[in-house]
C-alpha cells in the first residue's frame, strides 16, 4: 500500500506566502440516547455483533421507522448551543445509495430542511484571541452498520475472502454539524480547525448529549480544504479528508493538505475533487474516491415519517436546559478559585472541574480540592483505566471526605504526611478520614515538653550540623527536623519542630 510515502508538499510557510486556505468542517456526533434514531434498540458501544437489532434497524421488508423524540430534543439543544435558528417545521429525507452495510440502501437523513441552521461558535486561540466559526446547519440522520472484511491482508474488501456486517451501529442517532466556509484564518487555519473541534467537543460533553469519544468514533470530523490565491475571492477545488479521529490529527491533516495543495498548484497542476484518507501513523493523506458535486443521491422527503414541528414553547424550554458554555465556565471558575493557568489546565485535562467545584461548594479550599483529587486517587484511577469522577463514585469517595481531611489538617490534628496516609486509607475503603486517622493512630503530638526533649536530644547527637546552623546555614535544619520526626515516630508537627530548633540555635 502507498500509505508510507506522501505526495510532494510545500512547507507550510511557503504555502501560506502564496495562498489563503479555505476550510469546511463536517463533524458527525453520535448522540448518547438510550435507543436508536428510529427504533427502540439499545445503543451500547461494544456489544456482541448483531445483538442490538430489530426489524426496523435491520430494514426488514415492511418495518417502519418512528422518530426518537429524545434525539430530536438533543438536536434542538445542540442547535441552540451553536446559536442556530431552529426550524419550525422540517422533514427527514431519503439519501439513496447502495452500500452493503446500509440495511435499507437509503439513509434516513435531512436534506434541504435541517432542524437547525445559521449559527456560530466562538473559539479561543492560544494567543487569547477569539475566532468566530459560522455554522451552516446541524441536521439529524442515522448511522450505518459496520463491515468487517476477512481474509485479506489489509482489512479492506480488496483481497478479502468474505465480509461480515455488524448492524448494531445501524440506526444510531447522528447529528452532522456543518460549518460555512472558514476563511481568513491564514497561518492559523490548523489551529482554528483543532480549536473548533475541541470547543465543540467540550460543549457537547457539557451538554451531556454525547460521549464525544473521537477514538471510538462517536465524534468524527471530515476536513474539507481548498486554497485560493492570496487575497483572492474565488474558492479553489476542495478535497474532503474523511473520518479524522483526534484533535491532533485534525490540525495535522489541515497542515498537510495545505502543503500538498500548494505543491500541486505551484507546479501548475490542478486539484482533483475527491475524498482522501488520513493516515495517523505517517501523517499524510491518500486519494480515496472521486467525488463530484453531481453525485446523485436522489433525495426526496421520507414518506414513512411525519414532519418534525417543534413548538416554540418546547424550543424555549430546551434552551433553558443549556449549560453554561464551557469556556465561560472555565474563566469564571479559574477566577473564583485563584488557580494559575497551569493549575487550571491540569484540572481541566484531568476532568476534575466538576469534582473540584462540588468540593469547594462543600466547604473545602480550592487548593485542597485540587490537591486531593489530582494526587493519589488520580494515579489509582489511571491504573484502573477510569476517569477520577467515575472511579471516586465507584469507591464511594465524596467531596465531603476531602472537606473532612482538610479540616483535620487545619485543626492541627494531622500534618501533611499523616493526611496522605489518612487519604490512602479512605481510598482503601477503611472509612472516613477521621475513622482512618483513629484506626491508624494518626495524631500530631501536642505535648511541647516531649517535642523539646526530642529536639534537645537530636541537637546533642549532631553537633556539626548544629554548628552550621548557628553559623547561619539555616537550610541544614531539614536534616535535624527529619531526625526529630523519626524520634517522634512521625507524630511531630514539623513546623513546630523547626521553630524550636531554630530558637535553640539562636536563629529564631
Amino acid at each position: 500500500m502507498s500509505t508510507t510515502t506522501g505526495e510532494r508538499t510545500l512547507s507550510f510557510d511557503e504555502a501560506l506566502a502564496t495562498f489563503d486556505p479555505v476550510m469546511g468542517l463536517e463533524v458527525h456526533v453520535e448522540l448518547g440516547t438510550n435507543t436508536k434514531m428510529f427504533c427502540g434498540c439499545p445503543t451500547e458501544f461494544g456489544a456482541e455483533p448483531n445483538t442490538q437489532v430489530c426489524p426496523v434497524c435491520l430494514g426488514l421488508p415492511g418495518a417502519l421507522p418512528v422518530v426518537n423524540a429524545v434525539a430530536v430534543e438533543s438536536a434542538i439543544r445542540i442547535g441552540l448551543a451553536l446559536n442556530c435558528s431552529i426550524a419550525e417545521w422540517c422533514r427527514f429525507a431519503r439519501k439513496n445509495y447502495f452500500y452493503p452495510d446500509m440495511p435499507k440502501n437509503f439513509q434516513t437523513s435531512q436534506y434541504d430542511e435541517p432542524i437547525a441552521f445559521d449559527g456560530h461558535l466562538d473559539v479561543e486561540l492560544e494567543d487569547g484571541s477569539t475566532f468566530r466559526v459560522e455554522i451552516e446547519r446541524a441536521h439529524m440522520e442515522e448511522d450505518t452498520g459496520k463491515s468487517l472484511h476477512v481474509g485479506g491482508a489489509t482489512g479492506r474488501i480488496h483481497g478479502a475472502t468474505h465480509s461480515l456486517v455488524d448492524y448494531n451501529r445501524a440506526g444510531i442517532p447522528l447529528i452532522e454539524i456543518v460549518t460555512k466556509p472558514i476563511v481568513a484564518t491564514r497561518e492559523k487555519a490548523p489551529e482554528v480547525a483543532k480549536a473548533y473541534v475541541a470547543t465543540l467537543r467540550d460543549l457537547l460533553k457539557a451538554m451531556d448529549v454525547s460521549d464525544v469519544k473521537m477514538e471510538q468514533g462517536s465524534m468524527r470530523c471530515d476536513v474539507n480544504l481548498s486554497l485560493m490565491p492570496r487575497d483572492g475571492d474565488t474558492f479553489g477545488t476542495r478535497t474532503e479528508t474523511k473520518n479524522v479521529n483526534s484533535l491532533r490529527s485534525v490540525e495535522r491533516a489541515v497542515r498537510y493538505e495545505i502543503g500538498r495543495h500548494a505543491a500541486v498548484l505551484t507546479d501548475g497542476g490542478s486539484i482533483t475533487q475527491e475524498t482522501r484518507h488520513w493516515h495517523e501513523d505517517t501523517g499524510i493523506t491518500t486519494s480515496g474516491r472521486i467525488k463530484s458535486d453531481a453525485e446523485d443521491y436522489r433525495y426526496f422527503p421520507e414518506p414513512d415519517l411525519v414532519p418534525v414541528a417543534p413548538s416554540r414553547e418546547t424550543v424555549e424550554a430546551l434552551r433553558a436546559t443549556l449549560p453554561e458554555p464551557p469556556a465561560e465556565r472555565r474563566r469564571r471558575l479559574q477566577t473564583a478559585w485563584g488557580y494559575s493557568d497551569l493549575e487550571m489546565r491540569d484540572v481541566l485535562n484531568a476532568g476534575l472541574v466538576g469534582l473540584v467545584e462540588e468540593t469547594v461548594a462543600a466547604g473545602a479550599s480550592p487548593a485542597a480540592a485540587r490537591k486531593w483529587w489530582s494526587g493519589e486517587i488520580a494515579r489509582r484511577a489511571n491504573t484502573e483505566g477510569e476517569d477520577v469522577p467515575a472511579y471516586a463514585a465507584r469507591l464511594g469517595v465524596t467531596p465531603a471526605h476531602v472537606v473532612e481531611l482538610e479540616g483535620l489538617v487545619t485543626s492541627g490534628r494531622l500534618n501533611d504526611s499523616m493526611a496522605r496516609q489518612a487519604w490512602e486509607g479512605v481510598l482503601d475503603g477503611e472509612g472516613t478520614p477521621t475513622a482512618v486517622a483513629d484506626a491508624r493512630g494518626l495524631e500530631l503530638v501536642q505535648d511541647t515538653g516531649a517535642l523539646e526533649a526530642a529536639v534537645d536530644a537530636v541537637i546533642a547527637a549532631n553537633p556539626d550540623v548544629a554548628a552550621k546552623i548557628r553559623d547561619g546555614k539555616v537550610q541544614a535544619v531539614g536534616a535535624l527536623i527529619g531526625q526529630v520526626m523519626r524520634e517522634m515516630k512521625g507524630q511531630a508537627d514539623a513546623g513546630a519542630a523547626r521553630a524550636i530548633i531554630l530558637e535553640r540555635l539562636g536563629q529564631a
Binding site: G59, P100, R298, V306
Partner: protein, 505 residues
Amino acid sequence: MTTDLTRATAAELADLLGAGSVSSREVTRALLDRTTAVDGVVRSYLHVDEDGALAAADDVDRRRAAGEGLHALAGVPIAVKDVMATRGLPTTCGSRILEGWVPPYDATVVRRLREAGMPILGKTNMDEFAMGSSTEHSAFGPSHNPWDLDRIPGGSGGGSSSVVASFQAPLAIGTDTGGSIRQPAAVTGTVGTKPTYGGVSRYGLVALASSLDQAGPCSRTVLDSALLHEVIAGHDPMDSTSVDAPVPAVVEAARRADVSGMRIGIVRELTGEGFQPGVQARFDEAVQHLVDAGAEVVEVSCPSFTYALAAYYLILPSEASSNLAKFDAMRYGMRVTPDGVDAPSAEQVMAATRDAGFGDEVKRRIILGTYALSSGYYDAYYGSAQKVRRLIANDFAAAFETADVLVTPTAPTTAFRLGDKLDDPMSMYLNDIATIPANLAGIPGLSLPSGLADEDGLPAGFQVLAPAMVDDRLYSVGAALEARLAAAWGGPLLDRAPDLTEVSR
C-alpha cells in the same frame, strides 16, 4: 347445520361460532377442503398454512369452551395478501427475490388478526410487489377470475379477491396503493375497502409506495368488510403516519344502511366516455337505487383528475425505486453470483441478484422512479406530481362541500382476458383511473358489486368515496345499495358465478 360453511358470510359465521353451533375447526376445515377442491384452477394462494390455521382454530375453540370473552370474529378464518409480514409463514410479495423468506415478525394487521383469534389460512397471490392490475405480474403465475378462468381477477390483489369470490375464505386482507383492493373487488363481484390513509397501520406491509399504500378488507358483503375494518384499524405507535384518532363507527354504519337525505356526488370526470357501456349501465341503475332509498344526486367536477394517472405514475415509481433498494442479496431472500466473475464485488452480486430476482414490471418502475428522482429532473417530475397531488386533494375538498359521498364505477371495464394487456402497460395502467385519485388524496373508498355487464355477463363495481376519517359513510351507502340490489337480484350476485368444483375435476 345445513348451511354450506364456505358460503356463509363472516357475520353469519361469527353468529354460528358465538352460539356454539359450529366450531372454528369445522369452519376452517371446510374452507381448507374447498381450497383443495378449487385452488388448482383459481390459484389464489401462494402458501396455504393448514397446520397453523387449524391450530389457531383449535385454540379459539378451547378458549370459547373455557368461557373466555372472545372477539366477535374469533374463529372466523381469513386469508392474507402475501405483502404482509407473517411470523413463521413465507412472505414473498409475489417475487422471486423474496422466495423462501420467512419473516421473524408479524405486521401489525396480522398481529391484530391473531389477537382477535382469526385463523390465518394462507397467503394470497399478487402482482410482484403489488405492481399491476391483473395479478399476471406475479412471479409465481397469475390467479384466475372465478367468473371466467380465462380472465384476470384484478390486481394487484387478485389472490385476495379470488380467494373470497371462490368461497375459499370469507375474508381476506388486501392492500390498495392505486386501487388494488377496489378494482379486484369490482371484477370479481366482491366487496373491497380502502380505509383512510393512516387508518390501518402499515407496519409490516412491505412497501410499494409508502405515501399511497393502505391495507384493507376484502369480503363478500359490506357488513363483513366493516367487521374486519374494525379489527385491523386504529392507531399504531410503530407507524408514525398512523392516524391517532378513534376508529369511525363502521359496523354501526353498515348495520344502519341509511342514505336518506344524503347528497350523492357523481364525478363528471369519472363517468360516461371511456367506461364500458355495461359497466356504465349498472352504475346508473345503482345510482337510481340510492335515489329510491332517499338520497339526492348532485354532479361535481374534479378538473385536476385529468392529471391523476400521470402524477401517480411518477410518485409511485419514485417511492418504489427507493423502497425496493433493500432487496440486494445481503441479508435475506435470493442471492445470485454473477457468471464469469472470479471475485465479485458486493455491487456485482447486488446487480446480478436484482436482475434475476425482479420481473419486468418491477424493473420498469424502478428505472422510471430512479429517473424521476434524479437531480435535475426532480422538480420537473416528482415535484410537479406532488403539486398535482395537492390539486387533487383540493378538488376532493371542494366536491365534498356539495356532496356527502362521491360515486363512480370502480373500474372502467369488467375483467379483461389474461394476457390481453400484458404487453401494453399504459392500457393496464388506465384500468385504475377511477381508483387512483383516492390514494393520492388519502381518502377512503369502497367498491361493491353493481351487477353484471350486459355485453359479457361479468361483474361491474360501484365505488363510493368519502372524506378522510369518515369511513363510516362508505358503509352506510354501500350497505343500503347492497340491500336494494340483492332484493332486485333475489340473492347475492356471487350465487350466479360458476361452480368451480365442476371445472377443477
